[in-house]
Subunit: 494 residues, 2 copies
Amino acid sequence: MPNSAEGEHRKQMSHVESTTTDRLEEILSSADNAAAELRRKNRTTLAGYLTTVADALDATADVLVPIGQRETNLPEGRLRGELKRTTFQLRLFAETVLDGRYLDARIDHADPEWPMGAPRPDLRRTHVPLGPVAVFSASNFPFAFSVAGGDTASALAGGNPVIVKAHSGHLELSRETARVVTEALASVDAPKGTFSVVFGTDVGRALVQDRRIKAVGFTGSIAGGRALFDLAQARPDPIPFYGELGSNNPVFVTKAADAARGDAIAQEFIASFTLGAGQFCTKPGTILVPQGSRIHAALSAAKLPDGVALLNERIRDGYIQALRDLQANGAEPLNAGLDPYGNLPSPTLSIVSAAEVLANPENLLQETFGPASLVVEYDDEQQLVKLASVFEGQLTASIQAESNDDVTDLIDVLVTKTGRLLWNQWPTGVSVTYAQQHGGPYPASTASGSTSVGTAAISRFLRPIAFQGFPEKLLPAELRDNTVDPVFRLVDGK
Amino acid sequence: MPNSAEGEHRKQMSHVESTTTDRLEEILSSADNAAAELRRKNRTTLAGYLTTVADALDATADVLVPIGQRETNLPEGRLRGELKRTTFQLRLFAETVLDGRYLDARIDHADPEWPMGAPRPDLRRTHVPLGPVAVFSASNFPFAFSVAGGDTASALAGGNPVIVKAHSGHLELSRETARVVTEALASVDAPKGTFSVVFGTDVGRALVQDRRIKAVGFTGSIAGGRALFDLAQARPDPIPFYGELGSNNPVFVTKAADAARGDAIAQEFIASFTLGAGQFCTKPGTILVPQGSRIHAALSAAKLPDGVALLNERIRDGYIQALRDLQANGAEPLNAGLDPYGNLPSPTLSIVSAAEVLANPENLLQETFGPASLVVEYDDEQQLVKLASVFEGQLTASIQAESNDDVTDLIDVLVTKTGRLLWNQWPTGVSVTYAQQHGGPYPASTASGSTSVGTAAISRFLRPIAFQGFPEKLLPAELRDNTVDPVFRLVDGK
């Protein structure tokens, strides 16, 4: 069955050819023209684009979901849920655009008495789009982090044309999703070139290096992301590269939490690390538990879920290699199903001591993209602080503790390591909200000051500009004293 | 006189040795420790550090200003004004910290009905300091963009330790300013290592590459800034590099403005490009005027100010080379004082046609750091849009126009090119305010989404973090439901 599924998979992929150099030039030129037109659109128009795309995608679910099933091995229910999340996300960005707070509009009226030592001129600051954005989509969320996913939604919301480089793992779905998006935008007269999709690894590299591209959004591996980041920074004019690369997502369990809730924590942990066959950037890759823990006992004895097909062969091969590397570095098998290295890899738990991790963090704390996680046993709870300090930058870190535990030192260290810190909850399932933060110090993100999920993601694709001494009629609407566009503004610092 | 001033200058510089490797290690280690302590300080404490430093600098003006005069050739009045601006800036950041809006605090309460398709957890997002920041100070503002300048003020305001790499042009002033800052911080028990200064080019490179340094602020040349930017991005863990590099600051004059106010514009332009001997990053380096303009006539006939000594020999040599390059590329002399290539270079205006600029923008539109500017004559006002499009990224662009002029196309292009756009005003004199924007597309800035002047500059040295499901008592004060720290928060998107 897996073999025939893969045969089918390869067959589907062969249907989409790499974008030719001539076609890429047309697309870039068209996006560049669209950028100039989009800059003149008001926020109501931009919001309308997003809701129109969302409606069109919802209406095409019955076409798109089966293609996704065929190309990614993901089940129908998961894909329908993910599409719903994707269209919700587009609509939430439409709401964000209408709200206008993301413009961080500021008005300083002229002040001859400004105490700096010189009169203050009339200064008004808002944010403008960057221009064409290249979006590199991910394999593991063929809707939510792909063609019409968060990077695309937030870049369009900011008024930027988008060129998506399709992921090789779901080429046909990418092409069909792009068709829906393009037709939806055309139906509301969005500028030609507002949205395009391209195919091919070399084409992706060319995109990042083209002077018309003004920013990049990327979700994927550390190796692939870093290579593109390096290209973006080596340009004559370096551009922002928002890459979400890799994360281990450690879970720190106190002795009291293990004693009080060890069995429940073990069950919840299994559910979290095997969700979606562990193919989430927020999969908990390490759980740190006290020696002789109830969690250890429960994990050893648990019946882990059956193996399922991973997204594609390349991901399966990478996963199995990572698992072997972990064990070559001293991780011992703790629990695994029938066939941890098979075509449908059964979930696997390995175990090491805290001392081994402290001696060899670079090999034992790598991301293992798939249904595996590592149990780390510590002797003394004070070790958790030291263990936390050896992790690289993370998308998430989680603490399982009781209310009387003193974990302030642990929190202090984890705040320096992660973009999201969870308390007695699990990191998989990234809610799209106003306060979400999906990012973190490198390698979680190449731009730790930003988020790729949540409404704040729009700020990645905007740039501040101040207007000094401008006549009312030439100012952007949000900066006029008598505005028809009442957004929140900071006026004279208040 | 210039020779003896330079002899004096070299003598002063020899008093400060490069920082040794051992001392640098001590400083970095101390800054790293300070980062952990600073993260626990509340905003009132951080604001107190800034005002204490401001008071101490004001109290030491009579010591610092004469050193600055000796090392930089800048006159006393200018330096006293600049010091006032510098301490005002520190106090404005203290006000910003107390206000707390820069934290962009957001609270999403749990919502089981969240329409994404899954319940929304309780998520609360704020911003935390990055850790030790390296600041590379500029030669041309020995107070405002140096040891205790805007980068230092905004990094400290955000709760980050600062290590300043002193500029070789005012080493003794750097050392003495650092002494005042360090003593002021010690007097209010700021953590040891909160602030340090280091000396030496190699030491600067080592700073940028050290893993304990989490961000860099830089003001200086394109060549120097780009070299350090490249080092920062090539690290195993790339870090944000906020570099303010170079800008030409073009001024676009319409025919109507020339006809109505040509003489006044010419006089104001002369005052602006010769202010501080043209040694400002916002000096107008190009003015675009109609052929046969009143401005041309007025500039030809004007008596330009006398030459004065530039900041140091290296800057004078670079300036004279840039001026010769301009003329080698076809710029004709329009007006110059007695000795444009002398030790005290007299201000110089050159002239070219619009056609020449369009044919050779990369050589004719370079920054010339010193008292020179280029007049560009256009035939047809429509050419201004095309001319605007050949400029690289700018800190500022200015329009001199009358109220009936149709300059919307010109504005549309300039919005894509610049961080600040001025209307019938001059770019020199960058006010420190809430709405100021000092940055722009590369090479104006290596981080076009940020500003290095104004209260928004604090955001460069902060990183977002979300807390999920956290108990009230373990949350940062600004994220608690019952907070003693009432900052503005976005609650459930409102």
